[in-house]
Symmetry: C2
Subunit: 416 residues, 2 copies
Amino acid sequence: MISVALMGHGVVGSGVAEILTTHKQKLFSSIGEEIYLKHILDLREFPESPLADRFTKDFEDIASDREVRVVIETMGGVNPAYEFTKRCLAEGKSVVTSNKELVARHGAELLQLAKDNNANYLFEASVGGGIPILRPINQCLVANMVDEIAGILNGTTNFILTKMINENMPFDEALKLAQDLGYAERNPEADVEGHDACRKICILASLAYGKHIYPDNVHTEGITKIALEDVEYAASWGGVVKLIGKCKLLESGLMDIVVAPMFVPCTSQLANINDVFNGIMVRGDCTGDVVFYGKGAGKLPTASAVVADVVDCCKHLKARKRLFWVDTKGEDCIADYKESLTKIYLRCISQDADAAYNKAQDVFGGITRLTRADADASEFAFVTENEMPYGDILKAQAELESAGIKVASAIRIGNL
Amino acid sequence: MISVALMGHGVVGSGVAEILTTHKQKLFSSIGEEIYLKHILDLREFPESPLADRFTKDFEDIASDREVRVVIETMGGVNPAYEFTKRCLAEGKSVVTSNKELVARHGAELLQLAKDNNANYLFEASVGGGIPILRPINQCLVANMVDEIAGILNGTTNFILTKMINENMPFDEALKLAQDLGYAERNPEADVEGHDACRKICILASLAYGKHIYPDNVHTEGITKIALEDVEYAASWGGVVKLIGKCKLLESGLMDIVVAPMFVPCTSQLANINDVFNGIMVRGDCTGDVVFYGKGAGKLPTASAVVADVVDCCKHLKARKRLFWVDTKGEDCIADYKESLTKIYLRCISQDADAAYNKAQDVFGGITRLTRADADASEFAFVTENEMPYGDILKAQAELESAGIKVASAIRIGNL
């Protein structure tokens, strides 16, 4: 029997407790021992829970219990999860978490602490919810150099964009629907501004390339400026607008990493990932493109990924998993986003659209005009034919603006 | 340094040798030790190989070398791979393979032998080529009961069907193209009759449910009877024809397992998997649908999956991976395919199509008529509205035939 403890009995945490109970037999046959959920830390009372006798409000009950070998942290947020995790690892306990914010912010330090104490720190559930992704990258694709990772990493924004694409629903209305359905928070900033997707691509990049990538250093754009006009132009181009988190190792050794809405061609596997689903493409030098698809959030999907990590810890009580990356502190490993090469889509407004289109042609070189039904005569849109550094695109946009041409929208073309 | 040996220097085997050389540093940092490819068994000569000095024609050089801890079997076919694998496992060496035929036929016995000798027998590459699938099912989804697995498991037939769907190319022509491109063998039976897909769904089912499923016991239909007319009707229904391998655990504890072409709705993730790509959907009780997509065959994708297993063996030289299923011998764990519930598509020919359609309505109950452009007046097609046991469908078809209505095609509707 292996004793474990749970910190945080919220949505995911209560799912973990549920799975440990309902799937007891399956877990036993995988580990060869029973998992015993000895303590549950939460400041709230759960008198109706069948596990009511396990609840505590005192972290010390877990930290100082030497029988507890694995601690599950599903509290979310950085504090006090960070301090609690450090203490547990220092005590030689393995820690499993779904806390993407904590991993993205302090992952390297916590992995080092785990290593120093011969324990494991695992966080499969922090990216892609129930989708297996970190373990496949770390184990199954170990014989590959990962050339690129690109994914739809946030279900809330994907739900909103799907409504905009399939039902012609404006952004504000789609956001309100997402809030009404419980997919989006009342303060939706972390989702719609791309911060949640950013944390996840940082974790994926850190794992794939072995160096901690800090979210604050990653250029991040959300979807709040996407209009239905852009969705229509994307369709006429042959694709859809998706919020993509993307990282690519450059020949310089620096990482090209960005979170931004992108035009994704319909032929891409990522174009067909709709609603709250997530999809992650990993481009390996041997495998080519591999794509993982599933529910990126939700109580039981996320909890099942947490429990899979618990099982792994239970099987490796005396051994360490080689899941590791080093700290970087500085930004040196990330390339300036203005040097990132991309094609771009622009939607512009000008009193003399034809003259303005000619001006755009002069400024950008080869461009292809897009059309949509019912466009105002003052509107025109195009995609560039060649990749340019993003900084040059910004300069070209400024040139259009100074010529009296309004740039209403600029969206990267994803090479996916 | 860990010594390994390779048996079979064909397409996949030479890929393994290549990856062990080109990815030496990455593998070292994952294992913490170097992998040394000490012997390569092949009856042919490879004087130009940089590893020419490692080749041998004598299996004993590997079997009796106590330094060799892991043996890679990429010979294919049952003999002599079966005898060689048994001997290696009996010597306490772990064995890694891409040989789906051997695993599907003798997996349970070889897993037991591995267990008895405290060794590992791993075969990630046997299903889905470079796509991580067995390890995710076994590890990442360990906290799920797997309700169902369904996949496009054979790239050759998927290439042929894609050509039929997207380019209106008849089956024979698409097959010839696949042969010219090297995707199909000169004798394409194993692919087009569904045997290859059958071996793979058997391996997936065995792993997910813990009991060996023998390919000979699985009802298997190929794609040779699919006509362009069927592809058109599938489109008018809102989907595509795909060769699907599918297994589902019934409440009785028996397994509903089949390989057959199916109508797949465009909304399914499996509908968008084209060309030689594979896609596998795993329906877990906690995760919901998870889909894995990538190259199901090819030298480096398959070899990279083999090498990932080698790495796993090297990390677990003294420990056993809990990858296991028991032998069943009999058929008792598989439900009679005639009891399998499904909706069906039928394309029929009759001099009086309208009367015949009314007859079909009598025989099948609720049906929905499909249309296509340029259909002959004698042709009609429909899908049933309710699921029926497959045996009842066969009886209903016989009733149509005995009323002078020719059933030109019958394809299951996939609930995917």
